[in-house]
């Protein structure tokens, strides 16, 4: 343990926690799409950088960073609605519909930013008022993002346990039954995809504000990271109600980042930053296989 502790400096550790919390929004969004609605949605690879791009451009234009983040959420919701439209209205296979939106968003994001990368150096962000207080910066960021994550998780939890949220869960679990109960399943898909991608875009907006830049390529693999978080959470907590599942998403996202950070910073393994995607794939595979092995061992 001590060796690992040394391998990971305090700044690197809290940096991983912060990134994990930023991507917790992605994890919760992915949970809504994949688990609640049973809609395999790859739009997130586009809506994450969309959120970052919209926020960055607006902040540079002098817009209040909170408002910029809110607009980013609206943009993300719109992206989700486009995917839902392609699927529900035009009957395109859900996975394919989301790939189409994702591809289109790459161009949209370039248009929004006007260039592949926008820096937010010296610009005021949501976090600016909290820097320079008694706490050091690398504590402030995860704390700030953590509070927002907590608020989002509580809101989504409350929603999923309401009448409206139950209708959404039924849509994903048994659409035929949901319709027989008077649930307009098409509308639920629109709503669910909008909420999911709004959360992912908020993650993108916070990514831009905590890291100080928006990059058009930052969306690549977002879906895998989100799924990794969801699956790690499920592996650790199992299926025990909505709140536990949401908490699992958040914790899964943080643990994923710490695991990646550990893998990359331990010289013994000889890994470098470019091995990230391979490590991710390996981690997700382990998370998927582990429960099966455990069950096999018990039987």
């Amino acid at each position: 343990m001590t060796e690992k502790g040394r391998a990971l400096s305090q700044i690197a550790f809290w940096g991983a926690v912060e990134l994990g919390l930023v991507y917790a929004f992605v994890a919760v969004g992915v949970f809504l799409a994949f688990r609640v609605l049973d809609f395999p949605d790859l739009t997130v690879d586009g809506s994450f950088p969309l959120g970052a791009a919209v926020t960055a451009v607006l902040i540079i234009a002098g817009v209040n960073p909170w408002l910029a983040a809110a607009v980013a959420m609206v943009a993300g919701a719109a992206a989700g609605i486009v995917t839902a439209l392609l699927n529900v209205r035009f009957r395109i296979l859900n996975l394919l519909a989301s790939i189409l939106t994702m591809i289109a968003l790459f161009s949209v994001n370039l248009r929004v930013m006007g260039k592949p990368n926008v820096a937010l150096i010296n610009a005021d962000t949501m976090l600016s008022p909290f820097y320079g207080l008694s706490l050091r910066d690398f504590y402030v960021r995860p704390l700030f993002v953590g509070i927002l994550v907590l608020a989002a998780v509580l809101a989504v939890w409350r929603f999923l346990e309401s009448d409206a949220g139950l209708a959404m869960r039924a849509t994903g679990a048994n659409a035929r039954m949901a319709r027989a109960q008077g649930v307009d399943t098409s509308r639920q898909i629109y709503l669910g995809m909008a909420i999911s991608n709004a959360l992912v875009a908020l993650g993108g907006a916070l990514f831009a504000q905590t890291n100080g830049f928006a990059d058009v390529t930052s969306g690549v693999g977002t879906i895998v990271v989100g799924l990794a978080a969801v699956i790690i959470g499920e592996t650790l907590f199992g299926a025990r109600g909505i709140l536990i599942a949401l908490a699992g998403c958040v914790l899964g996202s943080i643990l994923y980042r710490i695991a990646i950070q550990l893998a990359l910073s331990t010289d013994v393994l000889g890994l470098q930053a470019s091995d990230l995607n391979f490590v991710t794939a390996a981690l997700v595979t382990v998370a998927l296989v582990l429960p099966r092995l455990r069950r096999g061992g018990a039987a």
């Binding site: 009448d163 679990a173 319709r179």
Partner: protein, 264 residues
């Protein structure tokens, strides 16, 4: 009250597999009446039920439920008028949700759904009381996932779900066909009790001629998308399963003869 007028349904129109599933069915079921529907496979029973539920929109004709013309309304839009129990115990409820969540879902059938917590203390109490009436001990398992229940238990809960919110008509789609004989009897007795107590206008599709004659006020036989038998009152009371089988054979024989003519 249910009223269907000259309903025609064609599946796969314009293809080699074109099938006239319903061919001008006209039927009125009075308020509070319990009608049983029989017929061989492909006779149009399920299609007729689908037309009432909204799953199948007819190419011709009119459907009225209560006093509302629902001919062009899809399933969700008319769910407030129609309660339904499916043949497949897995189809009528969400296995991934808990028993009480399924009940909460059904309690707001056909109504708007807001941000009110789905399982408030008051609702829970109400659900517990309704489930306790089943005498299956499920009232202590309301938090269990629905897919932990047996098929019969799920159908029993589905029946309760069908009556949590008001409706003009109850549709039963061979809802005991997938159950073992003991459980099928339990669910049928429960059906009888609920329908009588609540004076529900009910249409039950069944494969069992015994069931068709033992329950309800009126029996309809479908064949080739048309109503070929419609008995109620005294003439139905004297009817035996053997009589029905004889009629079934006669109708089937006729079609066989027709086929023979066609081939000849």
């Amino acid at each position: 009250m249910i009223s269907v007028k000259n309903i025609k349904v064609v599946f796969g129109k314009g293809t080699p597999l074109q099938k006239q599933a319903l061919n001008g069915v006209t039927l009125t079921i009075e308020e509070g009446s319990f009608v049983t529907v029989i017929g061989s496979n492909g006779a149009g029973k399920s299609t007729l039920l689908g037309v009432l539920a909204g799953d199948v929109l007819p190419s011709e004709g009119e459907v009225t439920i209560g006093h509302t013309d629902v001919t062009r309304k899809g399933t969700p839009a008319r769910a407030g008028l129609v309660a339904r129990v499916f043949q497949d115990p897995l189809a009528g409820s969400c296995g991934a949700l808990s028993i009480e969540e399924n009940l909460a879902l059904a309690a707001r059938r056909g109504e708007s759904r807001g941000l009110t917590p789905a399982l408030g203390a008051k609702r829970r109490e109400h659900f517990r009381a309704r489930i306790a009436e089943l005498n299956l001990g499920l009232e202590n398992r309301l938090g269990d996932r629905m897919d932990l229940l047996s098929g019969g238990q799920r159908q029993a809960v589905s029946l309760v779900m069908a009556t949590l919110a008001g409706s003009e008509v109850l549709l039963l789609d061979e809802h005991t066909a997938a159950l073992d004989p003991g459980m099928a009897e339990f669910v049928m007795n429960l059906t009888q009790k609920i329908v009588t107590e609540r004076k529900l206008t009910t249409m039950m599709v069944t494969h069992s001629m015994r069931q068709a004659l033992d329950y309800g006020h009126r029996t309809i036989m479908l064949h080739g998308g048309e109503i070929v038998l419609d008995v109620a009152g005294d003439s139905r009371k004297t009817l035996e399963v053997e009589d029905l089988i004889a009629m079934f054979r006669r109708i089937r024989g006729q079609t066989l003869d027709d086929d023979a003519l066609l081939i000849g």
